[in-house]
Symmetry: D3
Subunit: 224 residues, 6 copies
C-alpha cells in the first residue's frame, strides 16, 4: 500500500480557505455539525498562530522522514503538510531545514501526529506547527511511505486537498467538496454570535436569550 505519490490533487479555492481560517477552528467545527476535530493532544508550538490551507498528506513509517522530502515537491502556495505515522511515534520528523524548504514553496504550516524539533527556529521563522510532541529525536530515510493518500491523523480522516484550519484551539479538517457550504454556515454562525455577544456583555443571561428557563423547569431543575 505504501510507495505511492499522487501528484495532482484538487484543492478548494483560496478565498474559501482563507475565509475558513478567519472563522477559526471552533466555529468551523460547529458549522459542519461538530465533526472534523483532530485529537486535543495536537498542540501548537507557539501561541497565536491561525492558518488554513489545503492538505498535502503524508503517511510515513515510524521514525522515518523520507517522505517529507518527497511531499515538499508536491507543495503549492497555500498548502499545509499533514503527516500521520503508520504507528504511534513521537520522533522529530521535521525541523528548520525542512521548514526553510517548505516555506520556499509557499507552505503555510505543518500538522503532525508525531514530533517536531528546532521549535525555537520555527517560532522565529513564523512557521506554525501543531504536533503531538516536541522531541529532538532524529529520523532515518530507509523505508517508503506515501504522499497524498487518505490518512487518519490524530483520530480524524483527512483526504489530500481537504481544508485544514488550525489555531490555538487545535486543528479541524473540512472536506474539500463541502468547503463552501461549511464556510457559509460558519459565517452565519459568526453573524448570529455577534448579537449574542453584545447582549451578554450588557448583562443579559443566556438563560433568557436562548429561552432555556421553561425547558429546564420541565426537565425538573430545582432551585433551593
Amino acid at each position: 500500500m505504501a510507495g505511492v505519490v499522487v501528484r495532482n490533487i484538487e484543492r478548494a479555492p483560496l478565498e474559501t480557505i482563507d475565509a475558513l481560517g478567519r472563522a477559526g477552528v471552533a466555529t468551523v467545527h460547529e458549522a459542519q455539525g461538530r465533526t472534523g476535530l483532530l485529537a486535543s493532544y495536537m498542540r501548537p508550538i507557539y501561541a497565536g498562530a491561525r492558518i488554513a490551507g489545503s492538505a498535502v498528506t503524508i503517511s510515513a513509517p515510524p521514525g522515518d522522514n523520507w517522505m517529507v522530502h518527497v511531499a515538499i515537491e508536491q507543495l503549492q502556495a497555500g498548502d499545509i503538510i499533514v503527516l500521520a505515522p503508520t504507528s504511534p511515534c513521537e520522533d522529530g520528523y521535521f525541523g528548520d531545514l525542512l521548514a526553510t524548504s517548505a516555506i520556499a514553496r509557499g507552505c503555510r504550516g505543518l500538522v503532525i501526529d508525531a514530533g517536531v524539533r528546532d521549535v525555537r527556529d520555527l517560532t522565529q521563522m513564523g512557521f506554525p506547527v501543531w504536533s503531538k510532541a516536541v522531541f529532538a529525536q532524529g529520523t532515518v530515510k530507509a523505508t517508503l511511505g506515501s504522499v497524498n493518500v487518505p490518512i487518519v491523523c490524530a483520530n480524524a480522516l483527512i483526504n489530500p486537498g481537504d481544508v485544514i484550519v488550525a489555531d490555538d484551539d487545535g486543528v479541524c479538517v473540512v472536506e474539500r467538496a463541502r468547503a463552501d457550504e461549511v464556510l457559509e454556515k460558519a459565517q452565519a454562525r459568526e453573524a448570529a454570535e455577534e448579537d449574542k455577544r453584545r447582549r451578554l456583555a450588557a448583562g443579559e443571561l443566556g438563560l433568557d436569550i436562548y429561552g432555556m428557563r421553561p425547558k429546564l423547569e420541565a426537565m425538573g431543575l430545582k432551585y433551593v
Copy 2:
C-alpha cells in the same frame, strides 16, 4: 441527585480572598498543611494569571454545558466557576460567549476538569482558565446537572463558597471556614521566607540556615 441549583451560598470576605490570591498557590497549599491542590494536569491557558475567588460549582454531564448557563446567573463579583464533569471528558464546555457573560457578572475565571475553547479570545479578554484540555469540541444542552453542590474536581473536594486560588503553579482550594486561619499562616510563611531568601541570595546555604547538617550526619549521610 442531579437537577439542583443552590442559590444562597456563603462566601469568604473579599479581603481574605484577595490576600490569599496574593500569597499564591504554593504558599497557600503549604499554609494549610500541604492539602487542597488540584491535579497537576490542570494548566492555565496563558502564563502569568493569578486569581482568587469564591467557588460557584458545577456538576455537569459529559459533553453537556447546559448547567454553565444556569450557573452564570448565580455568579457574584469575585466568583470563580469550578466545573467537574460527572465522568471524564475533554469537551470544550466554555468559550468566548460564556466568558463575555461571566465577565459581565464579575466572574474572575474558570477552573474546569474538562476542555475549554476560544482560548485566543479568552486570552485577549484577560479571562483566565485552568483546564484539563484545550479542545474545540462542542457540547449539547440536553441533560441536567447541578449548581453549587459539593464536587470532586481534579481529585480535590470543593464545596460551593470555598476559596479558589490559581496561578502558574496550578489550583488550590481553601475551605471557606478556614480561609482566615490559612491566610494568617500563609502570611507568616511569607514573612519567614523573606529573610531566608535574602540570606540564600547572599550565599548562605540551606544546610546551615535550617541546621540540617547534624541530622543528615545522624542519618548516615557520607561525603566521599
Copy 3:
C-alpha cells in the same frame, strides 16, 4: 545504596560546554549518533531558554527534597542540577528559595524528572527548568538520597559531570569524556547545514540536494 555525596567530580571545560549549548539539543543529539535525549515529557517552564552545563546529579526519594539542599553545596558556576526520583513522582521539589540559593552559586538551571513550583518567580528570575510537571505539591525532608551518583533521568543515563544541553526542543546529555568529540561533529554538522539552508531557501529541493531520486525509484516509489 542511598546516602552518599560525591564531592569531587570532573567537569568538561566551560568553553566546550558553552559551545555545545550554542549548537543546541537537536544538533548535539545528531552529532553523537542520535543518542542522549531525555524523554519528550521533559518540558521547559518558559520558552526561549538555552543552556548547557555540568550535571550535578541527585537521586531523591519520592516527595522528599532534602538532597537538593545537600546538592546545592556541591554546585560550581556553570553547573546544572539534574534530579531523578527513585520512583515516579510529580511533587514540586524545587521553588524560588532553592533557585535563589542555586543562582548564588552560579547554577544555570534545573532538569528534574518530577515537579517544580513557583514557576512565575523562576521565570522572572530567569532560572530555567525542564520538568515532568508543574505542581505546587510540597515535599518533606525525612529520608536520604544521594548526590553525584549515576542516575537514570527521564529514560537517559546521566553521570555526574556529564554535559547537559537544554533548549526548547528538550534535554540532551553528552558524556563528559566525549564532549570535545561531539562538539566537533556538531560544529561540522552546523557548517554543512548552513549551505543546505541557503539552497533550500532558494527553492532547491532536498530530493535533489541529497540525491534521493534514484534510491527512491529503486525502492519502487510510484508517482501517479
Copy 4:
C-alpha cells in the same frame, strides 16, 4: 492536618453491605443516581473478585506506608482498606505480609490509588486489590499520615465507614447513611432488569421494550 487516627467510626449493617456487594458496582452506581464511581484506572489484580465492606481510610504521604500498619489495628471484620496518597504515587504500599495481617483481622480487600506488590501471593491468598498500578517499589516509614479521615481517592470522596463495592467493573462508594436507600433502589433495579433480560433474550428489541421509536422519530432520526 496529618497525624490523626480516628478510632470509632460508624459502619453500615453487614447485611446491607453484603447485599450491596451482590448487586455489584454497575447496579449500585445506577441506583444512587450515577454517582460514586472511582476512576476507571482502578483495576483489580485478578478477575472475578466481588466484595463489599466498610471503608477504613488512609491518607498517606507518597512512598510511605507507615500508616497502613496503623490502620490495620483499626480494622474490623468486614472492612476494606482504602488508601489515597497525598500526591500521585505508584509505589507498592502493600504486599503479602500486610495482607496476612489484614486477613487476620477480617479485612475483605484493599482499594489503593497507588501501587501494590506481591500480587501473585495476594492472588493465591484470595485477597482482592483494586489499584492504580502493580509496582514492586518499596516504601519508607518516616512521615505521618492519617487514618479514618475523609479522603479523595481516584477522584471520589470517601468518608470512613462508607460502603465500598468492588468487582470487575471497578469500585463504587456508597455514603454510609444512604446505604439502605441505595440497596432498595438497587434491588428494585435488578428485579426490573430480570424481565427485560428475558424479553431481550427472546429477541424483542430495546427500541420496543422501552418505547423509544416515537421519541427517536420526533428527534429527527432518519432511516435510509
Copy 5:
C-alpha cells in the same frame, strides 16, 4: 450530520470472514500491507477470544448510548458492533442487557473506543469486547448519533460492512471489497510461516533462513 441510520449495508461472505478470523489480527494486518490496526489501547475484556465479523458502526455522542439500541435492530448473524464516540469518552455504553439483545440477533462481539461494564457477566456469557476502558459509568439517551456511517475508531477508518478481526493482539479492520484478496495473502503468509516455524524450532537461525548476513555486513554491522 448525526441522525442517520443506514439500513442496507453490504457484507463480505461469511466464509471469507471466518477464514480471516482464523488467520488472526497479526497475520491479516501484515497481509494487507501493515495497515488497518486500531490503537493498542483497545484491549479484550478476557483472554482467548478470537472473532471476525461485519462491522455495524455507531457514531455516538459522549455519554449517550441511545444509538446502541438503534444499531441492534440492524444486526445480522455474524456482525460485530463497532462504536466510536464523537469525542473521547470512557463511559460504559454497553453491559449485559445489551449483550443479551445483541446475542439474540447473532452478534459476535463489540469493539468500542469507550468503556464497557458488566464485564464479569459478559465473560460468563462468552460475549467478547475490545474496549478502551472498563468503567461502570452509566449513560443517557438524549441525543442522536448515527448508525452504519463511516467512523474513525481508535485511529482507524471503518466503513459499515468492513470486516473486523479481533483477538488477543487487538483489532484490525479489512475493507470489505478487499476481503478476499487479503484472505488469500494471509493464507499464503501462514503457509510460508509454517515451514519457517519448523526450521526455527529445529535451531536454524533467521539470519540464515532469511539470508540476512550479507546485507547486515554491507550495512556495516560489526561483531566484537
Copy 6:
C-alpha cells in the same frame, strides 16, 4: 554508535540466577536497596510467570526488529532478551516465530520496552513476555541497532549479562557483579519475613512486632 554486536559477555552463575528468580522481584528489589525496578508499565502478557536470566540486550530503532534476529544468535540457555527502542515505540517487534527460535536456543523470556504480538501463541508456548504494549503492528528490517551494549530500558540501566528477574510484580535488574551479594540479602530477607508472616497470621500487629508505637507517638500521632 549503532551497528555493534558484542559476542562474549559475562554471565552470573545459573544457580545464583535461579535462586534470585525464586526470591522474586519485590524481594530482590528490596535486597539491593530499593533499586533496579523497571517502570510499572512493563506488564506480563499472562499471569503467573516467574523467570530469571542473563540479559542479552538489544538497542533497536523504532519499528525495526532486524536486531532481534541478530541477538538470537547470541543467546545461551538461561538468557532473557531485553530490548529498548532508541525512541518510544509500541510496535510488535516480536511474535511466535521469533519465540520459536529463541526457545530453540534456551531463551527464558523477553523484556521489551515496546510492543509484542501473537500473545495467544506465546501464552500457549509458555514463553513469558513483559512489555509496554500488546500491538500487532509489524516492523521493518532496514536500519542497524546494537546487541549486548548497555541500554536504558523502561527507565532502568541494563548492562549485558546483568541478571533480570521478572514476575507478576514487574521486572528488576541486578548488576551481574552484585548478584551473589544481592541473593544473600534476599534470602536473609525471606527468612526474616517467614517469622513475621506467622506472627501476623496469628493476629499480632506490625505496630508491635516492629516496635513502631513509641516512634509514632514521638512524631505526634494522635488517636481520637
